[in-house]
């Protein structure tokens, strides 16, 4: 759909999309579905004991992007879940205590289960509301944008640099910079180009440069778009039901 919009724009709109429009279209292609389900096997570098398999469920409910993450493996984490109702409201369900606990917003930058992902990565999906984009470079295959926080917004990183694949309108590389301009992390996303314009992501990697190039890999074992997930799944009550 977004590629069609892009074509219409190129034919009748008088040229390239603006950087902000590219970012918005990318958000829409990545997160514009009614709902999303994926099962992902995560491998945390450095020989982590955890290496979980998780389910990710995502849907816009009441105008808010909701994301539910459930742990399927390993057994001692099985049943654990995290519900992100946007960036500021997150809950974790701890099956050992059978208790849902609020995660403070201060924990957003903390590592999620020792991986290179943070709680903020769980809560943040779309980028355009938090960042203003400017075009860095463009080729026939991709755009490179710099993203800086919009006034009044407080995203976790002072700058992002995103590489967007034109034919899929999806991010293939995302670099995170802190306020001092130091590159903190790099995320790479391998996608299935043969099904363009829709290109499902098959593999994600995240490298934290400030943790000695510590790496987390994620293989998407299964995914489904617009599967009809119920709104009721994205509630604290549903979180407490566990797997």
């Amino acid at each position: 759909m977004s590629v069609l919009v892009l074509l219409v724009h190129l034919l009748f709109g008088g040229g390239e999309l603006t950087a902000q429009q590219i970012l918005e279209q990318t958000d829409k292609e990545t997160h514009g579905h009614k709902d999303f389900y994926a099962r992902i096997k995560i491998k945390i570098g450095g020989g982590s004991p955890v290496d979980p398999t998780i389910e990710v469920l995502q849907k816009v409910v009441g105008g808010k992007q909701m994301r539910l993450i459930r742990f399927m493996e390993p057994p001692d984490f099985r049943g654990m879940g995290v519900l992100a109702e946007g960036r500021d409201i997150m809950y974790v369900y701890l099956p050992g205590f059978d208790k849902v606990r609020r995660i403070g917003a201060h924990a957003r930058t903390q590592s999620f289960m020792g991986s290179d992902f943070t709680y903020d990565d769980l809560g943040q999906s779309v980028l355009a509301p938090d960042y203003e984009a400017s075009l860095v470079s463009t080729t026939a295959a991709e755009w490179v944008l710099d993203l800086r926080p919009r006034p009044g917004r407080d995203p976790s990183f002072a700058r992002l640099r995103v590489t967007i694949v034109r034919k899929c309108m999806q991010i293939s590389k995302l670099e995170y910079y802190d306020a001092a301009g130091v590159k903190v992390r790099t995320s790479l996303r391998d996608m299935e180009f043969s099904t363009a314009p829709h290109c499902p992501v098959r593999h994600i990697s995240m490298v934290t440069h400030t943790r000695g190039e510590h790496r987390t890999e994620g293989d998407v074992l299964f995914y489904k778009l617009d599967g009809g997930l119920s709104d009721e799944l994205f509630t604290v009550r549903s979180l407490a039901r566990g797997n």
Binding site: P49, G79, K99, R101, R102, T235
Partner: protein, 502 residues
Amino acid sequence: MAIRSVALALVLQAARVAAAQEAPAPAIDLKLSGSLYNDVRYVVAEKNLDGGALAVPTGFDRNDTRLRWKAVARAGEHAKGVADVELVWTGFSRVPYVGQLPPRPDATLDDLSNRLVIDPLYVNAYAAYVDLYKVAPGLDLRLGRQVTTWGTADKFNPTNNLNPLDFEDPLRFGEGISNDMVRADWNPRGDFIVTMVWVPLFRPARLPRTAPLGLESLARLPFQDDDFRHLVSSLVPPGILVRAHPLLPPTDLQDSQVAVKVAGRIGTYDLSLSYYNGRHDLPTPVHALASIEAGQLVADVTLGYPRMQVIGFDSAGSLPWLYDLGYWIEGAVVFPQEIRLGVDVAIPGQPSRLLDASGQNPLTVASTPYLKATVGADYTVGPHSYVNAQYVHGFIDEFGGGRTIWRASFDPGREVTAPREGDYAVAGTDLKLLRDRLLLRLFVVYDLNDGSAVVFPQSILTGSGATELTVGAFLFVGSPVTKFGDPAAGGSQVFARAKISW
């Protein structure tokens, strides 16, 4: 009574729904997990009663091997069963050891061939329940043995009264003991949830193994009336033998426990209101009979579990105007049953009953409502460290308004009094090192009234294959007539634990 009737109706509804769901039977999705856990502890410092007698000797205190199995069986989208049990080998024989305190009964030669005496074990049932989802629109039921934990505070939850607490292991800081109950959660929309719980039978708290030491010392007398207490102090010699006789509440419907909670969110702040009608899970003396047996003065003390009603409130969230600091506030107003301790005397030449100046049994717990509260905050400092601080008014074992009265048994005229609901500062920090494989954790509980404290440092090393090695210490600081220095609270110990999960 109305709430109890509703609870019964819910059980019947659950049975109806379960019957309706019998055909066709959905496939069972069974998931098993477990862990093996060794826990060795050593008491590093003797603890004496205030009179100087040895109460807690040094030596190995615990030598547990724990094998835990959990099974979760899901039958379709509407039913789930959970069984979570643990076999615990205590690692100590029941045959008495030289110098063991408190002394154990003599063993026989037959005991030495009895495996359960030589190598005792027991079973912990953490959970054994059935969940039925959506038995009516938005309504879930949970039936069976379970732990229902309420409250937003960290560990010190004044609104959490449904399950008795396990004080037997101080390192678990009063974890809930599972109990048979019926729980209904009604979630009509969003995160607005109404929870009702019915607990048919009362279950008492599990006391520390050092609890009988409380009978060895007459440091604490519960009488609130000063004159009456001083009279009893003058009559009771240090050598009195005190025998405790706990008595559980009746098993009728009127003595079951009920609770209701309404929870939701306003803006970004989580809020809940709750009500509990039941009993305090720690025993309190309700009657004493003084007599003389073979020349020995004996007090037979009956212990009961007083009724209480609790109206609770809690809130949690983040403060965006204060660096996103996480906060929680949890408070409960407790309406206790008045307790007057009947003191009968079966000693020739003495009055048959001791009464206070008003001619009644002496007051030990007034019916005056009192407050328990916890206010806390936490913060993540960078990606590897976390700090948490709480102010606690009313510790988890404290009940009733009025005063706790201590007197030194070596000097009965000297008394120390403090409000029954003490004030405590609790602080902790986590520091993750070695790419999060090593967790250094320190927690401290400090009694703001008497200066005693608990210091709990530990280091947890996580290895590959879901293994975990922990070494640490649990240290009590304070004199014998303080909250944490009391020998009945237990001895200071170091520990090492190894765990593997699958």
